[in-house]
Amino acid sequence: MAALHFHFDIDGEDFSSAGDASVVMKKKLRQLGFPSDAIRRCSIAMYEGEINMVIHANGGTADVDVYPDKIVIVLEDHGPGIPNVELAMQEGYSTSTEQIRNMGFGAGMGLPNMKRYTESLEIETKVGVGTKLTMVVGV
């Protein structure tokens, strides 16, 4: 069966709307009757990715393909890229500014959470060019 495709533009200027795409996606998955555990994992992983793109990359795009047995989330931005992926994957490691931390973000759990809540997380990144994350949530 062909996948259902959903595209979202993540606005990098607007903190208050960060996370909106994951909320919309959650509603759609619920309508599709996915089990609540899969919906929750997809929602958290996508939310963390959205926040990262707003904090670090001035926004980007989210493309979600829904299959009957899996959900594939592709997040793409044209931000600064991740210089050291291994370091970025460590819990608590963050390059966020003091200001971002004061807003309650930047705890260094973004990428670790994305890995924790998905079956696979693939990171393609190039400093100065951008980052592309591909996550698969199994059902």
């Binding site: 959903f6 996370g19 909320v23 619920r30 309508q31 599709l32 009757g33 919906i39 009957p68």
Partner: protein, 431 residues
């Protein structure tokens, strides 16, 4: 779910199909069909918002009337919600209001505010347990609990597994009456909740998940207000005394319950839109350090309920004016021999809330649901996206869903229809 008894209904003769309720319904449970509103039962959470916004008084909250109380009951106990205290101008002492309730014909009064203080103590004890799902979400507002069961199934386990104060009040008051009056049997006693909102009536009629209610009748604050307005007694010696403190009374307005936990790590939100945003954020694990979340469906909390009379903020100010005459609380919960996290079993819900009611899925078959959503997405692209409501659905998106589900016809979209009518004769683009 189909046998759920609702407390919000429509008087079709008064409804002109104006779309006001349509736009305000937090669960998109309303459609306009054949010129008047229709409530879709399995989506309605009885929050009463449509009752508040309807200009034509077509949306009604259903309550029992005082005259409905069966005369077979020999002992009738009033359970006034603390929001009642905030309705009366010039009321200086809660005791005089309680005495007026006895004059109205009740044999006894058990204040829900008093039960609330005991529930606060039980909640504090529950929150000391190390391995409970956090943040704990209040179970007091039945519209919120129903919303969680319908729309936030993952958060069911966060709902406080302790009785709402009104239920505790009803159960304790009945037990006490049996003890105080040995000549009475269970069938002789009834409890009558004086309620600020229809959701609490739905709670009494349907229970909360697997917890059945012991409340026999639910009358509206508005009805009792009409009976008592201008007739509350002046303060006199030997008058009935309130058995609650300010902590219990404060439960009537947003934040009151959370404040009673003596822990600053709480969030209190009121009004449906805010509550939904907060639940979305909790589901995304946005609040790592939050211990307790109090959500109220009505603006301002229970004082903003659809069955109240006074403006919620005026009512709240009046409630606060009672604080000078009241102690902080009087929750005499005797648990001296118990551990600090011991919660008396009679204060617990009969079973935790863990049932997901998937009212929102398009089809039980996932392949079918995916096919339908594909069609919905495609149809939505063609719609004007102005959410005008003329088709009878709250949004273009909801309309697209209705069409694909076979509940509406594409011709119901007046904007599309107009575009088709205005196609230029020479076959040019529609204007």
């Amino acid at each position: 779910m189909s046998d759920f008894l609702h407390s919000v209904s429509l008087d079709a003769s008064k409804c002109i199909g104006c779309t006001s309720c349509l736009r305000h319904c937090p669960t998109e449970a309303i459609r306009i069909r054949d010129g008047h509103a229709v409530i879709r039962s399995n989506f309605c959470i009885d929050c009463g918002r449509c009752v508040r916004v309807c200009q034509h008084k077509a949306k009604r909250a259903i309550f029992d009337k005082l005259t409905d109380i069966d005369p077979k009951f020999k002992h009738c106990i009033a359970l006034p919600a603390p929001a009642l205290y905030g309705q009366f101008e010039n009321l200086t002492d809660i005791g005089s209001l309680l005495e007026s309730l006895v004059d109205l014909g009740f044999d006894e009064v058990y204040e829900v505010a008093r039960a609330a203080e005991i529930i606060s103590e039980c909640t504090r004890r529950y929150m000391r347990k190390p391995n409970i799902p956090r943040p704990v979400i209040s179970s007091a507002c039945p519209a919120i609990v129903r919303l969680i069961r319908l729309r936030f199934p993952e958060l069911c386990e966060n709902v406080l597994p302790i009785l709402p104060p009104v239920e505790y009040a009803s159960r304790v008051a009945k037990a006490k009456a049996l003890k105080d009056h040995p000549e009475l049997t269970q069938d002789d006693i009834c409890t009558v909740f004086i309620s600020p909102c229809p959701a609490k009536n739905s709670y009494a009629k349907n229970g909360l998940s697997q917890t059945r209610s012991s409340i026999d009748y639910v009358v509206s604050i508005a009805e009792v207000y009409m009976k008592l307005s201008g007739k509350t007694k002046p303060v006199h010696p030997g008058m009935m005394r309130s058995r609650a403190g300010i902590a219990g009374v404060k439960w009537a307005s947003s934040g009151g319950e959370a404040e009673g936990l003596f822990d600053d790590r709480y969030l209190a939100a009121d009004d449906m839109d805010n509550a939904i945003q907060v639940l979305d954020a909790i589901e995304n694990k946005k609040f790592p350090h939050l211990e307790f979340v109090e959500l109220n469906a009505c603006p301002g909390g229970c004082v903003g309920g659809a069955a109240t009379v006074e403006n919620p903020y005026i009512a709240k100010a009046r409630l606060m004016s009672f604080r000078h005459g009241l102690p902080h609380n009087r929750n005499y919960l005797d648990v001296r021999d118990q551990t600090p996290d011991y919660v008396p079993p009679d204060a617990m819900l009969d079973a935790p809330i863990n049932d997901y009611v998937p009212a929102f899925s398009l089809s039980e078959d996932r392949f079918e649901a995916m096919k339908m959503m594909g069609q919905i997405e495609e149809l939505q692209q063609q719609l004007p996206q102005i959410d005008c409501g003329s088709c009878g659905a709250p949004t273009c998106r909801a309309f697209a869903e209705d069409v694909v589900k076979g509940e509406a016809k594409i011709e119901d979209c007046v904007v599309l229809l107009r575009r088709r009518l205005y196609v230029k004769p020479e076959g040019g683009k529609p204007v």
